[in-house]
């Protein structure tokens, strides 16, 4: 009986606590594995365009700047990224509603987007060293080494503070790692204005290869141990700014002005003609359609709000030329190519499945593009950051953990307002703020 009692006690104990200390504990995988020994990330500098700057919904604001893809990458390699712009990865942050004030979605049917002031103000102007993120919205590669066009772009002052060129401030930090992203504005500035014309000779595609080679070579000459993540140029005509209205259902009965070539050089004129299936009506054209423009030859859409087939062909060819130059330079063992072009094409083709949700490049409802139809949302930036992480890991043998996408999926992509449901966007859409963005993309290039 004594043995039985003892055994019963053992059984009861097992029933209550039966080895449950270890097996019952919740699973915890700890911190993600990080191996960065192959690359010195101690001084990371990001240069580029509005994409690298975290510009979205037609402005820059701190809460999105800290989620730009360079900032996300910096976070993944262990740097602090702060709302005040200070920290291990410093940025030219702007508070409040942003600069210019970001767009916000007011209504879904019809789609109504506005901007509200006042503009935010820079919050990190006294930071003692050049910023880690030197990306300038609207910049072309020419701007990297030359101040000639800086006066036309107030956001240049925000980023550079008159301390020198982008190149100067980059080299002065003796970077060990640089993300380099230029080229989009060489074509985007023109495309958003509905033209393929080269507006300034300095931003010509013919010069792009040599300017890029010089910039990259200089970085490597100054610091032979530098490693560079070099982004290529996306097909800008695949973004919602061009694809949302597009031409499907419009061609044939909507008209626009189109260049009528003249045999005399420089004397081309504009004439009204029916929209073709290859034309792309931009988001700017949505408002004109809503006002009744375009539905007769006598009242055509402005040429500036339509990217016609010939313009698309030129832009596509120029993008290919720039990407060929990038591919050639990215052969160097110290450069990892970040395939923005392939990423955008993949999203255009397949969207993005995250958990049980399908994201797409659709305007307003897709989740990946902000309200200006051009720039990524925070979630879009997380996609790019992970593409960059993949490129760096594969090229340099590091193990940088992926960013957790869900952390960057936000309820609002604009200034303040939680957006509502969605209805079709076509005629009647009223999207304010796009003019500011288009102007920003082609500052000083008229």
């Amino acid at each position: 009986m004594k043995n039985m009692r003892r055994f019963a006690i053992i059984l009861a104990g097992a029933a209550l606590i039966g080895g449950c200390q270890g097996p019952c504990s919740k699973i915890d995988l700890g911190a993600p594995k990080v191996e960065t020994a192959a690359v010195d990330f101690s001084r990371y500098v990001a240069v580029g365009t509005s994409i690298s700057a975290g510009y979205q919904s037609s402005g820059v604001v701190d809460r999105h700047q800290i989620n730009s893809y360079p900032a996300i990458f910096a976070r993944q390699i262990g740097k602090t990224v702060q709302l005040d712009g200070k920290g291990g990865f410093s940025e030219p942050t702007v508070n409040g509603r942003g600069l210019p004030p970001l767009q916000r979605l007011l209504s879904l049917s019809p789609v109504t987007i506005d901007t509200v002031g006042p503009a935010g103000v820079p919050t990190n102007t006294t930071f003692p060293t050049p910023y880690s993120n030197l990306a300038i919205p609207g910049a072309v590669l020419f701007d990297y080494g030359s101040p000639a066009l800086y006066a036309f772009n107030p956001l240049t002052t925000l980023v550079l503070r008159g301390l020198g060129t982008v190149s100067d401030l980059t080299l002065s930090q003796q970077p060990t790692f640089v993300s380099f992203e230029f080229g989009a504005n060489e074509v985007l500035g023109r495309a958003t204005r509905g033209t393929s014309k080269v507006l300034i000779p300095q931003a010509s595609v013919a010069l792009f290869g040599s300017q890029l080679s010089t910039a990259i070579t200089t970085l490597h000459t100054v610091n032979p141990n530098v490693r560079i993540a070099l982004a290529n140029v996306p097909d800008v005509t695949a973004i919602p700014f061009f694809t949302t209205v597009g031409s499907a259902g419009l061609f044939g009965f909507v008209h626009r002005k189109i260049a009528a070539p003249s045999v005399r050089a420089g004397q081309d004129t504009l004439e009204a003609a029916a929209l073709t299936s290859a034309d792309l009506v931009t988001l700017l054209g949505a408002r004109q359609l809503g006002l009744g423009r375009g539905f007769s030859l006598a009242n055509p859409l402005d040429s500036a709000v339509v990217l016609d087939e010939a313009e698309r062909t030129v832009i596509s060819a120029n993008t290919d030329l720039m990407n060929a130059a990038i591919d050639q330079i990215a052969q160097a063992s110290w450069i990892a190519k970040v395939d923005l072009n392939g990423t955008l094409a993949n999203i255009r083709e397949n969207g993005l499945n995250l958990g049980g949700t399908h994201y797409s490049d659709a305007f307003v409802r897709g989740g990946l593009f902000s309200l200006d139809g051009v720039h990524p949302t925070d979630l879009g930036h997380a996609v790019i950051a992970n593409v960059m992480i993949d490129a760096v890991n594969q090229r340099f043998g590091t193990h940088i953990p992926y960013a957790r996408m869900e952390d960057y999926a936000t309820l609002t992509s604009s200034s303040a307002r939680l957006a509502g449901g969605e209805n079709g966007l076509r005629a009647g859409a009223n999207i304010a703020g796009l003019e500011n963005m288009v102007h920003m993309l082609s500052q000083g290039r008229q």
Binding site: M1, N3, M4, F7, A8, L11, A14, A15, G18, G19, C20, P23, C24, K26, I27, D28, L29, A31, P32, L105, S107, L108, N353, L354, G355, G356, T357, Y359, V364, R365, G367, L368, S370, L371, T377, D378, L379, G380, V383, N386, V387, I389, D390, P401, Y402, R404, M405, E406, D407, Y408, A409, T410, L411, T412, S413, L418, A419, G420, G421, N423
Partner: protein, 437 residues
């Protein structure tokens, strides 16, 4: 308490008590304390009325009318941590989730009676299959679009007739009628238009069928062979059963987001509450075991069970009003086996038992989900039995099972694109009382 009343109580208990899956897939092998003391290795050496479950052919070995009644107290701990094998993997590295701790009490009742010298008849009520999951914080649980709560309950009534062909051979045959109900809660999410990809809960979905309305039947058969005085070999087969649920209720309840325009869009797309049908597949199980009375007072047994889990290839959901949301959840389970070894040592005052079993997982990595996070498991059991009463006609058996479930990864191929690792631990403590007349 008369027998009929006891059956009613047990049936009610089975209805009220959600079960959790303790063997691979969603089968429950914990059907008697004496059996579980030996890790369920009992097909050949069973000597109480739980023979109705483990091997009805052994009813011919029981000395007289035997009633076995009991149950288990089961506690469960389940947790999850995300992995990120690819850039877009969801929910992300080390995102941690937990299930509510479960406390379940599945019962069992068996009655076996001799019909002359060579025949025996028995009936039993138990819950041979079950599942119970409920994730904490359902409104924010990262897997809520797949399941926040799931419950599968069964109640099986079986009747078997056993015949002793001679002193060495006994056979049995019988039928099983099984009732089942299923319940599933989940959330519908939608991305906020114009937002940055953020998602909000827009509707809760509740699917439920009632236990009494859906049933299926199957046969069972057993064999007991005594090749030598100290050896017994048992075979047991329980046929698979399909339960067609025709009148389940699907309820879709909108969750207001605070934005009238968005809510109007959601309302337009939300299906009405309606009937839903499905078919629940319960696999056949074949068991073979050999028991050896190795030395005086000792019995050792080794069993192998094969379960035809490949029948669980899909879970169809046929909505009666909105056909566009019909779906067939692909599961593609594979057949699995369970190996158990147990021993009993009979002393003058009591018996003690111990055992171990390994239960192979049935789900492929693609089907390891928040609803069915199946994994292989290792069970370690201890048992105790003692007789009471003037003529020792009462027997009380106790067992404790520590079930160590392998940590299971979705291996980057999750059907639900919900990537991570699941961890579980189950402790079961049970008691069975047997009375022999």
């Amino acid at each position: 308490m008369n027998t009929v009343r006891m059956v009613r109580v047990l049936a009610l208990a089975a209805l009220l008590a959600p079960a959790t899956a303790f063997a691979a897939g969603y089968s429950i092998y914990e059907q008697g304390a004496a059996a579980l003391g030996m890790a369920g290795a009992y097909t050949a050496s069973v000597n109480d009325a739980s023979t109705l479950f483990y091997n009805p052919a052994a009813m011919t070995s029981l000395p007289g009318l035997t009633v076995t009644v009991g149950g288990s107290w089961l506690t469960t701990r389940n947790s999850f941590a995300g992995t990120q094998p690819t850039a877009n993997a969801y929910p992300g590295f080390n995102v941690q989730e937990s299930m509510k701790s479960g406390n379940f009490f599945p019962p069992h009742l068996y009655v076996a009676a001799p019909l002359g010298k060579r025949l025996a008849f028995g009936v039993g009520v138990n819950a041979p299959f079950g599942l119970g999951i409920e994730w904490e914080n359902p409104a924010t649980f990262t897997g809520r679009e797949h399941a926040t709560k799931g419950q599968l309950q069964t109640l099986a009534g079986s009747a078997s007739l056993a015949l002793a062909l001679n002193e060495r051979w006994s056979v049995s045959g019988g039928v099983t009628q099984m009732y089942a109900n299923v319940e599933l809660d989940k959330m519908n999410l939608a991305t906020v238009p114009g937002g940055g990809g953020g998602r909000v809960n827009v509707a809760s979905v509740h699917l439920e069928s009632s236990l009494g309305s859906s049933s299926g039947s199957g046969m069972n058969a057993g064999l007991l062979w005594r090749p030598k005085k100290d050896w017994r070999v048992g075979l047991n087969y329980r046929a698979g059963i399909d339960v067609k649920v025709e009148d389940g209720d699907a309820t879709f309840t909108q969750i207001p987001t605070g934005n009238p325009q968005f809510d109007a869009v959601v309302a337009d797309s939300l299906p009405p509450s309606q009937k839903v049908a499905t078919t629940l597949h319960f696999p056949s199980v074949f068991s073979v075991g050999a028991a050896w009375d190795a030395m005086p007072g000792w019995t050792w047994e080794c069993d192998v069970n094969f379960t035809d889990w490949s029948v669980f290839d899909a879970l169809p959901l046929d909505f009666k009003t909105t056909n566009s949301i019909d779906q067939s959840i692909i599961e593609n389970y594979h057949d699995s086996y369970r190996v158990s070894v147990g021993a009993e040592h009979r002393l003058a005052s009591h018996r003690y038992r111990f055992g171990y079993y390994y239960d192979q997982e049935a789900a492929p990595a693609q089907s390891v989900t928040v609803l069915l996070p199946d994994a292989a498991r290792h069970g370690v059991t201890l048992g105790l039995g003692f007789d009471m009463g003037k003529e020792k006609s009462w027997t009380v058996d106790l067992y404790n099972l520590a079930l160590f479930v392998d940590t299971r990864s979705t291996e980057g191929v999750s059907r639900d694109a919900y990537e991570g690792v699941f961890k579980a631990y189950v402790n079961a403590f049970g008691a069975t009382v047997t009375h022999r007349w």
